[in-house]
């Protein structure tokens, strides 16, 4: 009799990465990182704020409003970086079913939403003196707003499920669809803008950034990135501990027994 087909699953042998990423071991080694990361964040933030507010000149065109950019640009960058983290984690959840990928996704979503919201808020603050209005239907602002909606939708999906293991996989599907769709949204919004408003607005990009602006920008970007890493790590630890409590509760409920 020949074998038609079979389903075969072997428990994987723990390699280096498995051991690094095992939830229990992760709690161990990541615990040593929290304090150093907080100190690094505080240091970079202090240096960056000093550069941004005291040690850099006002822009010849924008004046002091350029200083808003030192918060706006890093948070705008992180709003997209968070999604990239979620995207990679979503692949980890769907392909390898790795619990750490679930945890990483769940931890990143609210951070992404907050950084996106800060980017929008600072963008609006910068828009008031620059465009004369808090909200302009500018291509970038609009794409960022849609990104915020996607983050909030994903958070809503997380919260709609009781079973967080299942939620992780549903969210992964949405995250992947969103990842393919976000460039399309960006493109469509840009297309829409050229359709309705051909005039271009001032943009802080390209090679024209003066070095005295570039340095604080880089330091602040570094500071916010490390802030994200710290918060992400702490949230992941919290989530793992929460799941353990949940498992213990379930075990206790089972041990107490029922209809036996």
């Amino acid at each position: 009799m020949k074998r038609l087909a079979s389903v075969d699953t072997q428990a994987p042998k723990p390699g280096f990465w498995t051991r690094i990423a095992h939830p229990g071991l992760f709690l161990g080694w990541s615990g040593h990182l929290v304090i150093p990361l907080i100190l690094l964040t505080a240091g970079l933030m202090a240096w960056g704020l000093y550069l941004a507010f005291l040690a850099s000149p006002p822009d010849y065109q924008m004046g002091d409003t350029v200083r808003i950019m030192y918060v706006h640009v890093p948070t705008a960058w992180l709003s997209q970086f968070c999604y990239a983290v979620m995207f990679v984690s979503a692949i980890g959840t769907l392909v390898w079913r790795h619990p750490m990928a679930d945890v990483s996704q769940k931890a990143a979503a609210p951070l992404g939403a907050v950084f996106t919201a800060i980017a929008l808020y600072t963008g609006a603050l910068w828009g008031r003196p620059t465009w004369g209005t808090f909200w302009e239907w500018d291509g970038r602002m609009t794409s960022t707003l849609v990104l915020l909606f996607i983050y909030l939708g994903i958070i809503a999906l997380w919260r709609a499920f009781d079973d967080q293991l299942k939620a992780a996989r549903f969210v992964s599907v949405v995250t992947l669809v969103g990842a393919i769709n976000i460039p399309i949204i960006k493109f469509s919004v840009d297309w829409w803008q050229t359709l309705h408003q051909p005039a271009s607005v001032f943009r802080l990009d390209g090679p024209t950034i003066a070095p005295e602006i570039l340095l604080p920008l880089l330091v602040m970007s570094g500071a916010f990135s490390v802030l994200f890493l710290t918060l992400h790590l702490v949230r992941m630890r919290t989530e793992i501990v929460k799941r353990r409590i949940r498992t213990l509760e379930l075990a206790a409920a089972r041990a107490a027994g029922g209809a036996q």
């Binding site: 389903v7 699953t9 299942k166």
Partner: protein
């Protein structure tokens, strides 16, 4: 109908982070049935879902033997769960014909399926007005209308009266004598008729 056997080794299932089955194994040659017994929550339904390929395995292996070269696992088997997959709004006969079409069989056995289930006279009625027992019979009629070698039945006699339960027993016995196999999760004894029995797998509840 291709002859098919089943061999399960060291099956470990985890659902919702909780271990459901640890190290279940059995072998089922063509023409035999396995009755899965055990208290509520012992993993009977999960075992059937795993065999049906609807949930993933933590570890272990499920081997299907025999069958044609081109056949895919999913078209070898019938999975009959708690939910009947009977749709109100379609007639009884339409329900069964739909399944014959979608499961890749011809419609030649549809009438036979309806007759076997005792629903031939009401084939033109809306399936929504059937009683729970009749709905279950209509679900079971799929087994007759679409011949497949593997039957995975989860509490097939639920909602049926004594006569209906006997019918299910005869249906399974006939299937086995034709060389098919069946895995039946049940907490009631099923009467397969004289001289016919099933292997038994008893699952216990684990903390």
């Amino acid at each position: 109908m291709p002859e098919t056997g089943l061999k399960v080794e060291d099956l470990v299932l985890v659902r919702g982070g909780q271990p459901i089955l640890a190290g279940v194994g059995f072998e089922l040659p063509p023409g035999e049935a396995l009755e899965v017994r055990g208290p509520n929550g012992s993993g009977k339904s999960s075992l059937l879902l795993a065999l049906a390929g609807l949930i993933g395995l933590q570890s272990g292996r499920i081997d299907w033997t025999g069958g044609g070269e081109e056949t895919e696992n999913r078209t070898l088997l019938h999975y009959l769960g708690h939910k009947p997959a009977v749709r109100a709004g379609l007639t009884v006969a339409e329900n069964l014909s739909f399944w014959a079409d979608v499961l890749g069989a011809t419609r030649e056995n549809v009438a036979e399926g309806l007759a076997a289930a005792g629903l031939a006279a009401i084939g033109g009625l809306d399936a929504g007005i059937l009683s729970a027992g009749q709905t279950r019979r209509l679900a079971l009629a799929r087994l007759v209308a679409v011949p497949r070698p593997v039957w995975l039945l989860d509490e097939p006699t639920s909602a049926l009266d004594i006569e209906g339960a006997r019918w299910v027993g005869r249906l399974i016995a006939k299937h086995l004598s034709a060389g098919g196999i069946a895995v039946v999760a049940t907490h009631l004894d099923i009467d397969y008729g004289d001289g016919c029995g099933a292997r038994r797998l008893v699952l216990d509840r684990r903390a």
